[in-house]
């Protein structure tokens, strides 16, 4: 893992940038509350299909997104509501998408697993494990060929590291020295298959390093550590340092999807990780150091709840795309010679 900050360094970091720490807390809470509402709405049959929530892993997206520029690109997975939200896709458009409404960010054609947004260069939303990695390599190739100093951040779970597309992509990115930040969200389970049951080498950063990609493991439950490592890695990638790989060690508190009885892990293990809840931990730390009081917290939760309420209201009042438009967007509507 990246050298852990000492208690003194950490205190100094928070003291130097308390607004930033509070900001990260707020960003994580936005994801948490949005996801909690998604679960409720799924139970109420407002959201259908597959639904994978990010509860427990919020520190990863919050930390990495804060290190990116608006013109960078993001490629994510099917557990991507949080990534989309923190990348800047409006909560209203995300929620309307999950309702299948035309006001959604993909007009209701993608749903929970396929959120896309051109304005924020958010390239999905990929439901095939590891399927997004080659896209990220290509986006970075285009930037390289066009002389742009943009970074492509590519998120994937540790399960993706057993896929051929992971290996092909890391090799290609390293071979061509492309500006990709590979962000592995190691939540220890590929659906229900534990890391040690799917990988011969469970030190994932070591595995990535075998491609001559600079690689580190990071405590993914600590948003300050995530932000710090992501910022350094993004700077290195942007300044021509080639692809970088960060393994964020994190944990999914909820089931894989809404159809998962969780037979593959012990409740005690979940409870153990929940003690490291990234939101509760940072909140406690900020309170203890005098950088967050009850009013601050009340204000943050009020704002976040209002945002989520507004998103649900927006989605509830959304409309359905006319069935007459079913065949649109299969091919572009521009003429083709």
């Amino acid at each position: 893992m990246t050298p852990p900050m000492t208690a003194e360094e950490r205190t100094a970091l928070i003291a130097a940038r308390p607004d930033q720490a509070r900001g990260l807390l707020r960003q994580m809470l936005r994801v948490r509350r949005l996801e909690e509402r998604c679960v409720e709405l799924y139970s109420a049959s407002k959201i259908r299909g597959f639904l994978h929530v990010y509860i427990g892993e919020e520190a990863v997206a919050a930390g990495v997104m804060s290190a990116l520029r608006p013109d960078d690109a993001v490629v994510a997975t099917y557990r991507e509501h949080g990534h989309a939200l923190l990348r800047g896709v409006p909560a209203t458009a995300i929620m309307a998408e999950m309702f299948g409404h035309v006001e959604g960010c993909c007009r209701g054609r993608g749903g929970s697993m396929h959120l896309f947004d051109a304005d924020t260069r958010f390239y999905g939303g990929n439901a095939i494990v590891a399927g997004g990695l080659p896209l990220a390599v290509g986006l970075a190739l285009a930037d390289r060929m066009l002389g742009r100093d943009r970074v492509t951040a590519c998120f994937f779970g540790e399960g993706a590291m057993a896929e051929g597309e992971f290996h092909e992509s890391l090799n290609l990115a390293a071979l061509w020295d492309l500006p990709v930040l590979f962000c592995c969200e190691n939540n220890l389970y590929a659906m229900g298959t534990a890391l040690e049951r799917s990988e011969s080498q469970t030190d994932l950063a070591l595995k990535a390093a075998s491609y001559e990609v600079a690689s580190w493991a990071v405590d993914g439950m600590d948003v300050l550590a995530v932000e710090e490592s992501a910022r350094r890695a993004v700077e290195a990638v942007r300044s021509g340092g080639g692809p970088h790989f960060l393994e964020f060690r994190t944990y999914r508190f909820r089931a894989h999807s809404m159809f998962d009885p969780e037979r593959y892990r012990e409740k005690a293990e979940v409870e153990h990780w929940m003690e490291r809840d990234p939101i509760a931990s940072l909140r406690a730390e900020l309170e203890a150091s005098g950088h967050l009081d009850a009013d601050d917290w009340a204000s943050i939760t009020r704002e976040v709840d209002a945002e989520v309420d507004a998103a649900v209201e927006f989605a509830e009042s959304g409309t359905l795309e006319p069935v007459a438009d079913l065949a649109r967007h299969v091919r572009s509507e521009r003429s083709t010679a």
Partner: protein, 332 residues
């Protein structure tokens, strides 16, 4: 000018890279080796390693990278050496290239061209002789082309690159050495319509790609027997040119579909179904098909020949369709 299919395709790539700086070629051995089928020979020297990129043997990786580069503003030509290897990239082709525009509600189009060799007939055995373009023609979101002539080898690529969405070009391996005359000013051609390659009144033989020369030879042979066949080259396998298909059937009232793919679930099945759905009452005979036998393509020459469509099988199926018997010995 005198040229070959291979040279015409190379000229098309050179022209595209000269016209548009965003166009680049990548694939296995397209650079230093000159291309698995020598199509890109010389392009590395002319355009340099940035625009003629040798890739590792990573079909999913570099096809996906082509999709990403297209999303990022480039106009990639990705060469997959053969359709057989493209099976390793089906995830990227089917799950990403074909779906991104739709899943994103129209936000992200993928202006990508993928070229690959297809087909059998060269004693390359089962894993190197597939004709799977019909499979890919099943997928909404893709445009599938099968250039069968020098004009199309020269002209389809640029039009494909101008398409804002993914286009797959299937080049039958038996066509690369086909030589002939091509106009000096040959340039882009449409990629929407089928073409009548031979006009005829008695029967329509509908085909595409590598079997076009075979079908034209069969038509010549049939003409000597007094059977006047019209030959339709589909050119674009998705979307199919229904107008042209129905027009030729309305004219001749009889159709034979020739397709190197296996019969079951094939492109020939689709063409035949469309004819029966839309022109049933124009037909004077059932639609006939000449396809590959339902076996993995064997190595031994006599068995491979027996497995693939041939002039003799096309002639025989066409005779049956027009109600002519097999000629007696000494006749025709």
């Amino acid at each position: 000018m005198k040229t070959t299919y291979r040279e015409a395709m190379r000229a098309a790539m050179r022209d595209a890279m000269q016209r548009d700086e965003r166009v680049f070629l990548m694939g296995e051995d397209v650079g230093r080796y000159g291309g698995g089928f020598a199509v890109s020979l010389g392009l590395l020297e002319e355009f340099g390693p940035q625009r003629v990129r040798d890739t590792p043997l990573s079909e999913a990786g570099f096809v996906g990278a082509g999709i990403g580069a297209a999303l990022g503003g480039m106009r990639p030509i990705v060469e997959v050496m053969t359709v057989n290897f493209s099976l390793l990239a089906l995830d990227q082709i089917v799950n990403n290239a074909a779906t991104l525009l739709h899943m994103s509600g129209g936000q992200f189009n993928v202006p990508l061209v993928i070229r690959m060799t297809t087909g059998g007939g060269r004693q390359l055995a089962a894993q190197h002789s597939h004709s799977l373009e019909g499979w890919l023609a099943h997928i909404p979101g893709l445009r599938i082309l099968a250039p069968a002539t020098l004009e199309d080898a020269r002209g389809m690529l640029w039009t494909a690159l101008e398409d804002p969405d993914p286009v797959l070009i299937f080049e039958h391996g038996s066509l690369y050495n086909v030589a002939g005359e091509l106009a000096d000013d040959a340039g882009p051609v449409d990629i929407d319509r089928a073409a009548v390659r031979r006009t005829g009144a008695d029967v329509s033989i509908i085909t595409y790609g590598g079997t076009l020369p075979m079908v034209l030879a069969a038509a010549d042979s049939l003409a000597a027997e007094g059977i006047d066949a019209e030959v339709v080259d589909l050119r674009t396998l998705r979307p199919l040119d229904d107008v042209a298909i129905l027009a030729t059937v309305a004219k001749t009232h009889r159709a034979v579909v020739v397709d190197e793919g296996w019969r079951s679930g094939s492109l020939s099945a689709e063409v035949s179904a469309r004819i029966t759905e839309s022109a049933f009452y124009d037909l004077d005979a059932p639609v006939a098909r000449v396809c590959s036998e339902e076996v993995p393509v064997p190595y031994a020459k006599h068995l491979e020949e027996a497995a693939l469509p041939s002039v003799a099988r096309v002639v025989s199926a066409t005779r049956a369709t027009v109600g002519a018997g097999e000629p007696v010995a000494g006749h025709a």
